[in-house]
Symmetry: C2
DNA sequence: GCAAAAGTGTTCTAGTTACACCCATGC
DNA sequence: GCATGGGTGTAACTAGAACACTTTTGC
């Protein structure tokens, strides 16, 4: 089967920058090792071609699932990259997405075109295929910029978390120290966290209270011109 | 001539949301009237297909020039729209851009596929072709959100402007009244405006001082973690 | 001299920053 | 009992909000 058009067309792909936090609250990104040329064996962002019968966001979610097993996560469009020479084969435009996931919830598995899938610390990335290092750095900036003004950090944590975990997450992503007392009073004043009246377990020090993000309440407040800000 | 591929491909276009301010400091958007089907005679955003030998941003600038005569303006990627049914002909993905221009500098002229080009007040838009009303509203929100944190408003004004003009621009786009004294001291404190020591002419009241935005200085300050904010 | 917009400071309020000690748990 | 992180309030400072009158020009 083949397809013929009157004018030449670029191909269109999606690529996903998947962020996660490990146990030590380090920021990680999920890469796949390419099983096929070009850039065979090189590390790259998971992604692939957009089908004619699926929207771009659907394609991003599908590719993520196919290549890494990850499903039903925060996924948002980042930017579209379309330099003429960004792919050696052909003219390929890619719509990049970024995803935020709680690493603990998934065991990543390489599938289809990927011979391997692995979490890398954002500070020690291997050289990436195509212009994926550029895409990654745009994603990192977006995450950093958006974290303060939108409650997206919770996507990186388990549904029950401690205030210290939350603060570490902010410190890691924003790359700056925050004051413990100021951080806590600011976040609690927003009334977006539910105190679960439950304690952290299995730690060899005073256990911390567990909280949960109240998404429903945030959506209500959002209507009334409430602005999240840390 | 025709082109054959192993897999079917979507087409890729660019569309531009061009904002301008008229003499009465009203926000306007530039639309073209389509000369060809589909949506013949309907108003639409200027745009067209991406060539294989040009980047997306280049294509956006080229289409803008071809269809309206506008050249060398602030042009930034907005979002990529790719719902399956957004174009009745075929699967078409569009990378939307938004442009900010000083209306006074250009006389818009319809060319190529456009039978007409015209400025519309953003409050009284006609029904638009395709999903262009959605694209427009995303652009308007982006402009509104970005205006406070990036010095992009100056792109909408002539290079020499008064503080009142600048304030009106902010009030128009943000859809809120601002306090004259607070606005002035805030913007002047940033030291980004050059006092041209020149007066507004041809007005039947006390003439205002003219200022110019110091882009070079802004770029320097930007390096040093300076943040523009109104 | 009047209409129209330009220009200019101060006070009050709210929010942000800086800062240090006691507490609960596991080993 | 000691090591580890959890939890808590106040004072000083800074930034933002509210607010009214005089000046200059054209007609």
């Amino acid at each position: 089967m083949s397809y013929t058009y009157k004018y030449p067309k670029p191909s269109v792909t999606v690529d996903c920058v998947v962020f996660g936090l490990d146990d030590a609250q380090k920021l990680k990104v999920l890469l796949i090792q390419r099983g096929i040329a070009p850039y065979q064996n090189k590390w790259a962002l998971p992604g692939g071609f957009i089908g004619l019968d699926e929207s771009i966001a659907t394609a991003a979610a599908r590719e993520l699932k196919e290549e890494t097993g990850i499903d039903k996560v925060f996924l948002e469009q980042l930017y579209t990259f379309g330099e003429v020479d960004r792919d050696p084969r052909d003219r390929i435009i890619t719509v990049a997405y970024y995803a935020l996931i709680n690493i603990g919830e998934y065991v990543v598995k390489a599938r289809t075109d990927a011979k391997n899938a692995k979490w890398f610390s954002v500070e020690e990335l291997p050289p990436l295929a195509f212009d994926h290092d550029r895409i990654f750095s745009v994603a990192k900036e977006r995450l950093k910029g958006k974290l303060r003004y939108q409650p997206i950090g919770f996507e990186l944590l388990p549904s029950k978390f401690t205030l210290t975990q939350l603060q570490r997450l902010y410190e890691t992503v924003l790359e700056q120290k925050l004051d413990k007392r100021n951080f806590r009073s600011k976040i609690l004043k927003m009334k977006l966290l539910v105190d679960l009246e439950e304690m952290q377990a299995g730690v060899s020090h005073r256990p911390a209270k567990l909280y949960q993000f109240d998404k429903k309440r945030y959506q209500e407040l959002e209507q009334k011109e409430f602005n999240f800000e840390i």
